[in-house]
């Protein structure tokens, strides 16, 4: 996922995450107050004016039209939880198992069967709620949402309607998260609903991306969009700038990548803005639209005729969910460092923003990085190795960092060996690829291949004298002014040392000998 984020930043220069970091750096706090788009834009302009440059894939005319309208975007994120069992029975919760193999009287909705809440679902809800800075409801309840559908055996979904387990939260994108719901019978699901606070596709995509990161950091979900473990439905309307009331809201579904989400929203904004501009605002109707990836546009899926009446009422088969403060506190204490805190910490270590975003994006990468520096490796060097050769190797081999043979211990040793001069950087790189491919230890590799750098001046001097004496012709040319030949001599000595001579020492001694008046 790291690439997605970097791509996002490169393609769309209006990243809210970027501005958030910059704001914080300039000690411009009050994160929640900056919820409105104008403030954020303003901030972005001040720090980096080039960021508001018009997007090049749109015509100037459209840009002009767009300037008169403001988009209002809210996102409903469904996070499928990676609990072992389903939400209301003890059947296993496996993605991709054969149809109807994980069923029992409860999830079949047989007569007389009753739901029993999986306590893990509550725990995950609390974890996510705390991670999103929500207010937790120590007393919440379940409700029945009623409609007929073939995959809904009981004719109702067990969900939380008016008292979600957590509400009033926010993420550090300056976006309000209204509530986290425990949702749906069978497969456990958390629903995160945002306020209609977002104004652009990029912003929305970054919000969704942060949700994925948080879910993965917390270990509550694998967050895979392709599997449907993370699903985002977008509600979007536009209104002329200055108008207080919202325009007609359209829902977009079928967004299975963050980039698609960003493009779908931008398309929808343009579509609606054009209709407004042409005086056809009445053609914007309450409907569900699908993102057509092939055609790169949204198409009507179904028009809603009035609001569906789900006849919510409290689920009588489940008691209220009562949480004690101690329980909440214990979960709070067990929360891992979250993406935002991690980014800030990396930033404080002196890493550049690109490094920070890369490393903190994937929890496995971040954990790997933390382990390496925990073993004493220098921060910047560790970051460079991970983001450079290691990332390239993983990408090539299509491996995840967790499957890699190079342990954090060995990477730390490798970095230390280069830093203290035991081996040269060049040899370090060779060793790295060996370790990546075969595993093993840095010490073993150095010993086995006799790779320890030669740092004994006497030994280097011996080699220098030998090379100089064997190349009298070149020596004369050098001494007559062709000083470029120093490189030739250095190369010969390095060759003789099989690449192990310390380059600094080598050059120092070589110069002495070349310039000696003997």
């Amino acid at each position: 996922m790291s690439t997605t984020l970097l791509k996002t930043i490169q393609l769309n220069q209006f990243s809210l995450l970027g501005t958030a970091l910059i704001r914080r750096r300039s000690n411009n706090v009050s994160v929640r107050c900056c919820g409105s788009q104008t403030a954020t834009t303003h901030e972005a302009k001040q720090t980096s004016p080039s960021r508001v440059a018009p997007k090049n894939h749109k015509s100037n005319k459209l840009d002009e039209i767009l300037r008169d309208y403001e988009a209002v975007i809210g996102i409903e994120t469904h996070v499928q939880l990676s609990t072992l069992t389903k939400a209301f029975c003890s059947c296993s919760n496996n993605y991709g198992s054969y149809p109807n193999t994980s069923i029992c009287p409860v999830c079949m909705g047989l007569p007389g069967a009753l739901p029993v809440l999986n306590s893990k679902v509550v725990e995950f809800g609390v974890r996510l709620g705390l991670a999103l800075n929500c207010e937790l409801s120590l007393k919440s309840k379940f409700d029945r949402k009623q409609y007929f559908y073939p995959d809904l055996p009981k004719g109702y979904q067990i969900s939380q309607f008016d008292i979600p387990i957590a509400s009033g939260g926010y993420v550090d994108l300056d976006i309000y998260v209204v509530q986290v719901d425990l949702n749906r019978a069978g497969v456990p699901l958390l629903e995160i609903v945002s306020e209609p606070d977002m104004r652009s596709g990029v912003e929305a995509a970054e919000y969704a991306c942060e949700m994925q990161r948080i879910a993965r950091y917390l270990g509550v979900s694998n967050g895979n969009m392709q599997e449907g473990s993370l699903r985002c439905d977008v509600n979007i309307s536009i209104r002329p700038i200055g108008q207080a009331e919202f325009g007609t809201k359209v829902e977009i579904k079928n967004l299975n990548a963050f980039s698609a989400m960003s493009r779908a929203i931008d398309f929808e904004i343009s579509r609606q803005a054009l209709l407004y501009d042409q005086g056809k605002a009445d053609q914007i109707v309450t409907e569900t639209r699908l993102w057509d990836e092939g055609a790169q546009k949204t198409v009507t899926m179904r028009k809603k005729e009035g609001l569906a009446d789900y006849r919510y009422f409290p689920e009588p088969d489940l008691p209220e969910v009562i949480l004690t403060q101690e329980y909440v506190d214990s979960i709070r204490a067990s929360l891992p460092e979250l993406p935002e805190a991690k980014r800030r910490r990396y930033e404080a270590m002196g890493l550049g923003m690109q490094d920070v975003l890369f490393l903190a994006n994937d929890v496995s990468v971040a954990e790997y990085f933390d382990a390496v520096i925990g073993k004493g490796a220098e921060v910047k060097l560790a970051a460079n190795w991970i983001m450079g050769d290691i990332a390239a190797y993983l990408k090539n081999e299509k491996l995840s960092i967790n499957d890699m043979k190079l342990t954090t211990q060995e990477l730390a040793e490798l970095i230390a060996a280069i830093k203290d001069g035991t081996i040269s950087g060049k040899i370090g790189k060779e060793i790295l690829f060996e370790l990546l491919a075969k595993g093993g230890t840095v010490k073993g590799m150095i010993k086995e291949k006799d790779l320890v750098q030669i740092t004994d001046p006497a030994e280097i001097e011996k080699m220098v004298i030998k090379v100089v004496s064997e190349n009298q012709k070149q020596l004369e040319q050098y001494r007559s002014g062709k000083t470029k030949l120093q490189g030739y001599f250095a190369g010969q000595v390095m060759k003789m040392s099989k690449g192990k001579a310390n380059p600094g020492l080598l050059n120092k001694i070589l110069l002495e000998k070349l310039n000696a008046k003997d």
């Binding site: 047989l110 007569p111 007389g112 919510y312």
Partner: protein, 536 residues
């Protein structure tokens, strides 16, 4: 048919004593000096156990006698929708255990009728609905599992109003059950089959379910004991939901002791029902002393509140006087009697019908014809739902689904469902206050004795009104027991009337104690229907 019956040997185990009928008011009271002296009714469960352990008879013998009585009486009564093929086999197993000297469960050899909305593995369980015709569940309800573990034998599945919706058992999709006291009358409902089966001694005890009085009212109509436990006392797992926040599985017996011992067997926390309670289940049996052990004022100091709203207009005079005489009997036993007013009493009935219908509209959504039960083939999904449900559900069920759907609809929710819940809170408060002043509360179980089959069929409101005595107890989640306290005129030999005793939450023990002493000391009548007396 009846005259050909050879009384089986084990019939002698049964307290088949006939009420000595008289032409006029036939309510019984301790003060009546003219009433003949009859011995108090005996527990079927304890009698069975004694005779099995002493070797006086065998479980197979007992089972045979009951089965033959079912064969004889069932054509008229129609209590059962299904009689188990395994009764004799199950009884044989009990006898084998006895022969091997193995330990016997407390319900060993006890023949138990089960209301058809309680799931029994592999045995038809239809809730008397066409939509579940031929449905056999793959699991036992928790209550059934407990009964089987304790040696109990399920005799069969008893008739009921479809999904528990009704007060006469006439709303069964399959048959109409007759009242053993008068075959032209209803047995009450919705657990009419279970009540009538115990009254007719087709089984020793039975399970019913009580959402608004469905155990207590038929107990009253059939002259048996009906026990509705505290909400949460018995697991609902395997009980087909009608109104989940009100439903409880209840017990019928011909004595308080039998109902109490059956309740003990099925009570307790169940991890498959989140609404079941972790409260301890006391050993009720110690309450069931025999009469010779009673002190002269065995209920001395027990505070009894008689709910004055239950004796107002609309209650039959015979019922009222039977209740008053029962109150006098309690006083004679040492109880301190006071009148208690529950101001919210009359609000309960409408609140009940709103809440129960609302929940049922949701609970019955699962019967869509897709996975099990009656499916009507259709070309299109919505049509399949429509036809399967349209043909599968009876009129009363459809009416309640519609009422509930309406009450929960946007714009009506506040006026109906929410308001009903507020009333429910009021009722709970009133009961709580009354039960802080009193140990138990008493009232009639129903405003009248059993009425004629068909009498209220076209007047649902009149039928609903008959639930006024019982629904409030469900709204408050309290335990209550109904036991026969007298007879009123009607039928060939009078019709039984039940007294309702209401207790504090999870205090079934006190109810059973008072109920047992009341029953064992009530002189003048024994509640065996005339049908049985003829058979015997």
């Amino acid at each position: 048919m009846l005259s050909t019956l050879q009384p089986p040997r084990s019939l002698s185990l049964l307290p088949l004593r006939r009420f000595q009928s008289s032409k006029h008011i036939v309510s019984a009271a301790s003060s009546s000096s003219t009433a003949p002296v009859t011995s108090p009714p005996q527990s079927q469960i304890l009698t069975t156990r004694r005779s099995l352990l002493s070797g006086e008879t065998t479980a197979v013998e007992i089972a045979k006698s009951y089965l033959s009585r079912i064969r004889l009486t069932e054509p008229q009564l129609k209590c059962f929708l299904h009689v188990s093929e395994n009764v004799l086999k199950d009884a044989q197993e009990v006898d084998q255990r006895i022969a091997k000297g193995e330990e016997l469960g407390p319900l060993a050899g006890v023949l138990i009728g089960v209301k058809d909305n309680i799931c029994t593995e592999g045995m038809p369980s239809t809730a008397a609905s066409r939509i579940l015709e031929h449905y056999r569940p793959p699991f036992d309800a928790t209550a059934i599992k407990k009964i089987k573990d304790l040696g109990g034998i399920v005799v069969g599945k008893t008739n009921m109003d479809e999904f528990g919706m009704g007060s006469t058992t006439e709303a069964s999709a399959f048959q109409v059950t007759a009242n053993p006291w008068d075959l032209t009358r209803v047995p009450g409902g919705s657990s009419g089959g279970s009540a009538a089966a115990v009254a007719a001694r087709q089984c020793m005890v039975s399970l019913g379910s009580d959402t608004g009085g469905s155990v207590r009212q038929p107990a009253s109509f059939c002259g048996v004991v009906g026990l509705k436990p505290t909400y949460g006392r018995v697991s609902r797992f395997g009980l087909m939901a009608y109104a989940s926040s009100l439903d409880v599985i209840g017990c019928f017996g011909s004595t308080v002791a039998d109902a109490g011992m059956l309740l003990h067997a099925i009570s307790g926390y169940d991890r498959f029902d989140s609404t079941s309670s972790k409260q301890d289940v006391p050993e009720f049996q110690s309450q069931f002393l025999s009469v010779d052990h009673f002190e002269c004022k065995p209920l001395k100091g027990v505070k009894v509140g008689i709910i004055c709203e239950t004796l107002e207009d609309g209650v039959d005079s015979g019922v009222r006087s039977a209740t008053q005489e029962a109150a006098s009997h309690l006083e004679a036993l040492g109880c301190v009697l006071t009148e208690v007013s529950l101001p919210s009493f009359s609000l309960g009935l409408p609140a009940y019908y709103v809440i129960a219908s609302s929940e049922s509209s949701s609970n019955l959504s699962r019967y869509d014809g897709v996975r099990y039960g009656n499916q009507v083939m259709a070309e299109e999904l919505n049509k399949l739902y429509e036809c399967s449900r349209g043909e599968g559900f009876g009129g009363e069920v459809k009416m309640r689904i519609l009422m509930g759907t309406y009450a929960l609809s946007a714009g009506y929710y506040d006026a109906y469902y929410k308001r009903a819940q507020q009333v429910r809170t009021l009722i709970q408060k009133d009961f709580k206050a009354a039960l802080e002043q009193n140990d138990i509360l008493i009232s009639p179980a129903a405003p009248s004795a059993a009425y004629k089959i068909g009498e209220k069929k076209d007047d649902p409101l009149a039928m609903y009104a008959g639930d006024i005595m019982t629904v409030n107890v469900n709204l408050a989640g309290l335990p209550a027991v109904v036991l026969p306290c007298g007879l009123v005129e009607g039928g060939p030999s009078g019709l039984p009337v039940g007294l309702q005793m209401i207790g504090a939450a999870f205090d079934e023990e006190k109810l059973l104690k008072v109920g047992h002493i009341f029953e064992q000391t009530l002189k003048g009548s024994s509640f065996v229907p005339p049908l049985l007396a003829n058979v015997a």
